[in-house]
């Protein structure tokens, strides 16, 4: 069980770096289906896992290529702190089955967003006021 848990972490971690996400989107279902936690416990545990700066190694890799906007990220983080509390208050009293269904719908919407962005061709003509070139 310990080994499985460590491996789940590694797989989710690869997604952290690959897609710039926290990994919770796969951690929570993995804990439900492989470790048999219920949906609430999986979500609470996933949030705890994401508290330490697990993405910092990945972030430094992106920074080497200048692919980071720190100001935007920090502004976002402030919003997330507040939004996270609201989301937690909504989810905790919800029945587990309802929360599981909602999570599933959320995953499907996320998938569509990801696909939509992915299939959009890169625009060749950038406006003249583009940001500074990468090194």
């Amino acid at each position: 069980m310990t080994l499985i848990t460590l491996l789940i972490g590694l797989c989710a971690g690869i997604l952290v770096g690959l897609l710039g996400i926290g990994g919770g989107v796969v951690l929570a279902p993995a804990m439900v289906h492989l470790l048999h936690l219920d949906q609430h416990a999986a979500q609470g545990t996933s949030l705890f896992v994401l508290l330490p700066p697990i993405g910092i190694g990945a972030l430094l890799e992106y920074r080497k290529k200048g692919d980071v906007d720190f100001r935007a990220g920090i502004l976002c983080a402030i919003g997330m702190l507040l939004g996270g509390y609201v989301g937690g208050l909504v989810a905790v009293p919800m029945p587990t089955v309802r929360l599981t269904q909602l999570f599933g719908v959320f995953l499907m919407i996320s998938a569509l967003l990801l696909w939509g962005k992915a299939s959009k061709p890169a625009r060749p003509a950038q406006p003249a006021i583009s940001h500074e070139g990468h090194a």
Partner: protein, 123 residues
């Protein structure tokens, strides 16, 4: 100024998703950066990682922990894999055109979501 508000609002949306679904929020932030704030894909991903560095889920964790929904040991075991996996994933991402990979992940995510929804009907 508009962009400042945009970043903050993106954070709120990501945060609500984070607290409700126990996720980091990056899965929402990356598309928002790309679709509404005109970031290219690599920059959207790098910036999303910045937003995930501070313990933004702290208030949400407190809400879950009060209800007894946090498994501390399981959580602690997941952390090292996430950290090292993250570096590995970022090294891979820098060297590939990530469109195909994102589409594969989108399909997996969709199936996972469908499984969650339909799985509840058997109970």
């Amino acid at each position: 100024m508009n962009k400042t508000i945009g970043f903050f609002l993106a954070g709120i949306v990501g945060g609500v998703a984070s607290g409700m679904f126990g996720i980091g929020g990056g899965i929402v932030l990356v598309p928002i950066f790309g679709l509404f704030l005109a970031f290219d894909q690599h920059k959207a991903q790098g910036t999303s990682l910045v937003a995930l560095i501070p313990p933004t889920g702290l208030l949400a964790v407190i809400a879950y922990a009060r209800a007894g929904y946090v498994y501390w040991i399981t959580g602690a075991l997941l952390i090292p894999g996430l950290f090292f996996g993250g570096i590995l994933g970022a090294k891979i991402a820098k060297n590939i055109e990530p469109r195909r990979m994102r589409q594969v992940f989108a399909v997996l995510l969709f199936l996972l979501g469908a499984w969650q929804v339909f799985g509840t009907w058997k109970r």
